[in-house]
């Protein structure tokens, strides 16, 4: 029997190696920490079943203290545990498969004169695809009758979340208290164009967010910022390990009724007037981005944040290159510095290409 001591990382802590440093994604505790390259290398020795003595030997007696300090850090934070040779293999790796009982998990519907007549049909289609999260976006002011109609159309559904993004109007603002009486499934309401407007609302059954600037189209989407990294959950990480973290199992209906993977991606797969969502997802090219993972994306593949990040494929640094880095990210994994993306001269061409100049100025 081997009496040597070993160390093993709990398999629900996932180590993502970046260019200069790594992250331990602790999804069981909704948390992540950055660790230096040296520690990551040491962990990989342990994970390859090198005993603690072997590892100390590998680094030399003179570094023994450092090895112990690192081990202490890992044990103190409960990222791993001491074990023996026999037991080591019983702690098997977690299966990182992503399985979900939905053909489509999330949908974006742009509300417009063109799409309103199809809302019922869209909702029915989404139900048959076992969709979980739905977002309705409207850039123009929405009259109350139409809003009530949308609420009614989604009231008797099984969606896990329904978000509304609407333009601020006095009418809609005053109706907020009535929303959950019409539809108790609403989970979030965002009002854009709400600069200098009354924002006093009493707490209700859903989140309310005010955005000062006006949303004119979907070009606001896709911003990568460290403040969005706070949700370290299993589904997000496992989906990202296997699929595209934004576009997998997503479907959208745009203002013109076009069915797309995301409203900002040019490829259209038919109009909701004359086809169904079910038919569209069966077209093989519809899922073209679904299995593009961060490990294939330029720059991102070297980034330690890649599996808690969103992979925007609609706006990229080099339009035309399928594997280009998301445009709206200001992070550089080679220097570990965050900078403002919109003023980066290297991104100017892409910003002009997507006609975002105005948008970028306004948001700054």
């Amino acid at each position: 029997m081997n009496s040597k001591k070993y160390f093993k990382i709990f398999s629900n802590c996932i180590i993502v190696t970046g260019y200069n440093r790594s992250l331990i994604l602790d999804w069981q505790r909704n948390n992540f920490v950055a660790i230096p390259d040296t520690l990551q290398k040491m962990i990989s020795l342990f994970q390859n079943k090198k005993s603690i003595d072997d590892v100390i030997h590998f680094y030399g007696e003179e570094n023994k203290e450092i090895v112990h300090e690192y081990l202490e850090f890992l044990i103190e934070n409960e990222f791993g545990f001491i074990t023996d040779a026999d037991e080591f293999d019983l702690f098997i790796d977690i299966d990182t498969n992503f399985e979900i009982a939905s053909h489509i998990t999330n949908c974006i519907v742009e509300i417009s004169d063109e799409t309103i007549p199809s809302i019922d049909k869209i909702v029915r289609d989404l139900e048959s695809l076992y969709c979980k999260d739905v977002q309705f976006v409207c850039y123009e002011s929405l009259d109350l009758d139409t809003l009530k109609y949308v609420l009614k159309a989604t009231n008797e559904t099984n969606f896990r979340s329904i978000e509304l993004i609407l333009k601020y109007s006095k009418e809609v603002f005053e109706f907020i208290g009535e929303i959950d009486k019409n539809n108790f499934r609403i989970t979030e309401l965002t009002l854009h164009s709400s600069a200098n407007k009354n924002k006093e609302v009493s707490k209700g059954t859903f989140n309310i967010i005010f955005i000062n600037h006006e949303l004119k189209d979907f070009r606001n989407c896709g911003i990568v910022d460290s403040k969005y990294f706070n949700n370290v959950n299993k589904y997000k990480i496992f989906e990202s390990l296997n699929h595209n973290s934004c576009l997998h199992k997503k479907i959208s209906v745009t203002q013109n009724g076009e069915i797309k993977n995301c409203p900002s991606i040019p490829d259209s797969f038919g109009n909701i007037r004359d086809t169904t969502l079910v038919d569209v997802i069966n077209q093989s090219s519809f899922t073209k981005y679904w299995n593009v993972t961060k490990d294939q994306i330029d720059v991102c593949k070297d980034c330690e944040f890649r599996h808690i990040c969103t992979d925007c494929r609609a706006y990229v640094e080099e339009p035309g290159n399928q594997y280009s880095k998301p445009l709206k990210c200001g992070y550089n994994p080679y220097t570990n510095v965050w900078e403002e993306w919109s003023t980066n001269p290297l991104k100017e061409t892409a910003i002009n290409y997507y006609q975002m100049e105005q948008l970028v100025q306004k948001n700054n």
């Binding site: 629900n12 069981q28 409960e78 019983l90 098997i92 977690i94 299966d95 399985e99 009982a101």
Partner: protein, 310 residues
């Protein structure tokens, strides 16, 4: 068609059904809250509940998740008649449950409640380590056996953990037995076991010969070291996938077959000496708490199992 017997609140049933839907399978869920009517047409039995009508012969597989079939029958109001009718129906229900077990099935109502004492005894027969069981109802006997070298715990024999009193709820957790307890001279029979020192606990979900095992590290937290159902929400204990040694799997497999169970949750403890000690089996226990942290997706495995057509 897949028939599921459950109760209204069981989330795991709903999650398995989501998979059945996704896999395009026909299913019917009967909750114990549903009032069920049964009509007999010779060799066929027709079930009616909440606007659903189905024939017994259309059931291809059956999942006994929990609960019972809440049968409604028309009474005459004449006591002797009704009592006779009830007796007759009881026999018929027995027959229906028997016929359900004849189909491709997961678990059975006849094993819904297992007797802890019998199971532990059967486990010993299968050469599985178990704690030592003592049952006492008086102080004298207790003091003779209990020695100061070991520590002991006391737990409920029936396994029922929650009792509601008028203005409080008592959670009947496993608790450590200490000398300063005030013990009356006689008391209602209580189960006392020698306490097993644990390195970690195992929660094993058994599904038709497959083992989905999770190790639970809870020693770190004093608050949870006796029974991890004493949840500590702030810092969840580590729960990670684990592969039982083959030898243990084989013994447990024998035990499950002996008990005629093809699914259930098994609790074990691994001691600092790497001994595997069996604690209990819950045939209708929750598996979501094993499935999620280990990404076993047991809900889908059950849906696949039920979808199997022979």
């Amino acid at each position: 068609m897949i028939l599921i017997l459950s109760d209204e609140r069981d989330l795991s049933t709903t999650q398995v059904i989501e998979w059945l839907e996704f896999l395009n399978r026909k299913w019917i869920r009967i909750n114990q809250e549903d009032k069920v009517k049964i009509e007999f047409c010779g060799k066929e039995i027709i079930f009616k509940l909440n606007n659903i009508v189905f024939n017994f012969s259309d059931v291809t597989s059956f999942w006994y998740r929990r609960g019972y079939i809440n049968l409604q029958n028309d009474t005459t109001g004449i006591r002797p008649f009704d009592e006779f009718q009830n007796e007759e129906l009881k026999i018929i229900m027995q027959f229906i449950y028997y016929k359900l077990d004849d189909k491709h099935h997961l678990n059975s109502i006849k094993n819904a409640n297992v007797n802890k004492l019998i199971v532990t005894s059967m486990a010993r027969d299968c050469n599985i380590n178990t704690p030592e069981d003592y049952i006492f109802s008086n102080k004298e006997g207790l003091e003779q056996v209990i020695n100061s070298k070991n520590t002991y715990i006391t737990k409920s024999i029936s396994g029922d953990s929650i009792r509601e009193f008028e203005d409080f709820i008592a959670f009947n957790y496993t608790s450590e037995f200490t000398n300063d307890w005030l013990i009356p001279d006689s008391f209602s029979p209580s189960l006392v076991q020698n306490q097993i020192i644990k390195k970690y606990e195992l929660r094993i979900f058994y599904l038709a010969g497959e083992f989905y095992t999770m190790a639970i590290f809870s020693q770190k937290d004093n608050q949870t070291s006796v029974d991890f159902r004493n949840y500590n929400n702030h810092k969840p204990n580590r729960r990670v996938p684990y592969k039982l040694p083959l030898e243990i799997e084989e013994k447990l497999d024998v035990l499950m077959k002996k008990m005629d169970l093809n699914s259930g949750s098994i609790d074990m403890i691994v001691t600092p000496e790497n001994e595997y000690v069996f604690l209990e089996i819950n045939p209708v226990g929750q598996f979501g708490m094993t499935s999620f942290p280990c990404n076993y997706n047991i809900e889908k495995r059950i849906a696949d199992y039920l979808s199997y057509e022979n």
